[in-house]
């Protein structure tokens, strides 16, 4: 192992991320209400109902996103993986569009599409499904739509890679051994694609639970996710230590969720697999 080769990136991470983060988190302990001890910021945090609710909102939106992205991404990845490699390049480019378009532009596009006079509402009105324009924008729905847009490539890419690596003769073998095509899919293909799905779900969860712009521009008052609160704490109260405490809280929540997933499906087992 050449230490010298990884040194620059390690140095960058330490200087730009780890040290500032550590200093920030340190302030959450040292600078609190006077005389209330090291954990005063955390006591305040646990006592504040809107702050706790903002954690739940973040989790709720992230979970909803993971569910929808998985439901949409699995068939999409399957379709791409079944395609001959040289034909899948085009559709793959379309899937990764969110990666290389300006996010702000896309989100304003969503505002137009989902708005009162947007094409969706016009369609709903024209077909008589609704009598008044439905409120789509600035709801949990519009936030999840934005999240799904961002999350889909994060799900499809690892899933596609996992599916491509599955030996197709395994499914044929299963059928020759007496399994119906759907039995073969469920007992062979699905479990072998799970590592990719879990990797995708983790990426989508981590990304969306901490996303700021999407809920800010597509969400309403009820979509008060954690990060909005953190920003608000800094901006209005100029209370950086309290914001830092909230940040550590979010970090802990993410770690707890990942640990739970790890326990349930054994992330390490999947990731260390040599197939």
């Amino acid at each position: 192992m050449r230490i010298g080769m990884i040194l620059p990136s390690v140095l960058l991470l330490v200087l730009v991320i780890y040290i500032p983060l550590a200093l920030l988190l340190l302030r959450s302990f040292t600078e609190g209400t006077d005389g209330a001890g090291l954990l005063s910021n955390y006591r305040d945090l646990l006592a504040s109902e809107p702050i706790l609710r903002s954690y739940l909102t973040s989790l709720r939106l992230a979970f909803a996103t993971v569910v929808f992205v998985t439901l949409l991404g699995y068939p999409l990845a399957y379709w791409l993986a079944e395609m001959r490699a040289r034909f899948s390049a085009g559709p793959m480019l379309l899937v990764t569009v969110p990666f290389w378009t300006s996010l702000t532009v896309s989100i304003f596009a969503f505002q137009l599409v989902l708005g009162r006079d947007g094409p969706i509402n016009r369609f709903l009105l024209a077909t008589g499904i609704v009598e008044e324009p439905a409120k789509l924008l600035f709801t949990s729905f519009s936030v999840v739509v934005g999240f799904v847009y961002i999350g889909l490539p994060l799900m499809v890419l690892p899933l596609y890679a996992a599916m491509r690596n599955i030996d197709r003769s395994l499914c044929l073998a299963a059928e020759s051994l007496g399994a119906t095509p759907s039995q073969a899919f469920r007992s062979v293909f699905l479990p072998l694609s799970l590592p990719g799905a879990v990797a995708g779900m983790t990426l989508v969860f981590i990304t969306t639970v901490g996303y700021f712009i999407v809920p800010q521009l597509l969400g309403g008052k009820r979509e008060n996710i954690k990060n909005k609160y953190i920003l608000w704490t800094v901006r209005t109260g100029n209370d950086v230590p309290f914001a830092a405490a909230q940040t550590l809280g979010l970090l802990l929540v993410v770690v707890v969720v990942l640990a739970a997933v790890d326990r349930l499906v054994g992330l390490k087992r999947f990731w260390s697999r040599d197939i």
Binding site: L170, A174, E175, S176, L177
Partner: protein, 365 residues
């Protein structure tokens, strides 16, 4: 005779305008070990996949134990398949792999376990059932694949070059193993290989395939000793092919390889091919050709030609010596160790064999 094994009736398969199988007729009797032998692209794997139901034929019929299975999906055929790469399920242990066909048949957990353990013992892997495929050696994986294809007592077992990935020693071991299972369990086996030694050692019958058709189907000895065509003779290896023109008739008939270089044809199996002036192709195994020095006696061997040594290859038991004849054709023969010094390249020597060891082949091409 009614066929209670596998039968292909005029089966064709084409991809686009490329014909892979050309009206194939083939019968595998119950309890028979039949090998499809041929070069890659001869259609042997396609034949196997059609039997398994994993490839749809373009035409013709396939029957198994008298039942037309041409359009029966693979999972309803009760045919065991051993794939070239084993196709073991990587997320299941060896025992779970073997139990899989029982599981999808809805057999009780207890019976499943007992039968799978039994199959594990059958392939001599007792105690390794808990290992994952990646924790097993190539030979052990092969045994698991074998057990998995046998555990549900299939009416037919298909094997697609199952020993191709193993080293020579292991390959010989598995050949004996598969042969043992074939006899013990009275299996009907359709086996695919491009390895002539494997085919000769294991099979009851060999079908030599070429360009999507069967060139010759017979027992290993007949295939080896009496190849019908030049293709079969050369594919089985170590066979000399000589070309010439028939001169004279009856007892004076000769096959002229070139100017003044004739082989007497008296007593050869001719199948009516011996007509003066017609082109002839003859085959003789290397191991039937004796290479000796110019002055050595060639008593009892009617065919004697002289040539110049081109190559000498040590094969342990003997030397394989290639010589070039006056006509420019080459022939390989053997020289036993007891026959003294091995001739060197450039030396003039004599090659001799008996008329009975030479076969006149059908006129193809």
């Amino acid at each position: 005779m009614k066929n209670d094994g596998l039968e292909f009736v005029g089966v064709t398969k084409s991809y686009g305008d490329q014909q892979v199988l050309n009206s194939l007729h083939l019968k595998v009797q119950r309890g028979e070990f039949l090998t499809l032998l041929g070069p890659s692209g001869s259609g042997k794997t396609t034949t196997l996949m059609i039997a398994a139901g994993l490839t749809e034929p373009s035409g013709g019929h396939v029957t198994l134990q008298g039942r037309d299975i041409t359009h029966v999906p693979p999972h309803k055929r009760n045919i065991g398949v051993v794939f070239q790469n084993y196709a073991l399920f990587p997320h299941r242990t060896a025992l779970e792999n073997i139990a899989y066909p029982l599981k999808v048949r809805g057999i009780s957990r207890e019976a499943m376990r007992r039968q799978a353990e039994e199959a594990l013992g059958l392939v001599q892997l007792k105690g390794l059932g808990g290992r994952y495929p990646r924790e097993l050696s190539g030979g052990q994986q092969q045994r698991v694949a074998l057990a998995r294809a046998l555990v549900f007592e299939p009416s037919l077992v298909l094997m697609d070059e199952p020993l191709g990935a193993l080293d020579k020693k292991l390959r010989l071991e598995m050949q004996i193993e598969i042969k043992r299972l074939h006899e013990e369990l009275a299996l009907t086996i359709l086996y695919v290989t491009h390895d002539q030694e494997e085919a000769l050692a294991m099979s009851d019958s060999i079908a030599v395939m070429r360009d999507g058709g069967i060139e010759q189907l017979d027992t290993p000895t007949v295939i080896y000793e009496h190849p019908k065509t030049e293709f079969v003779a050369t594919f089985l290896g170590d066979t000399n092919i000589l070309r010439g023109v028939v001169a004279g008739e009856g007892p004076t008939a000769q096959m002229m390889l070139g100017d003044g270089e004739g082989l007497p044809m008296v007593g050869i199996e001719s199948h009516g091919l011996l007509k003066a002036g017609s082109a002839a192709t003859a085959a003789v195994h290397c191991y039937k050709v004796l290479i000796s020095s110019l002055d050595a006696p060639t008593s009892g061997r009617a065919i004697v030609v002289t040539g110049v040594v081109e190559e000498t290859i040590y094969r342990g038991m003997w030397w394989l010596i290639g010589i070039r004849l006056a006509s420019g054709q080459t022939i390989r023969g053997i020289r036993g160790e007891e026959q003294g010094a091995v001739p060197r390249a450039g030396e003039r020597v004599v090659a001799s064999w008996t008329v009975g060891d030479m076969k006149l082949l059908g006129m193809r091409d």
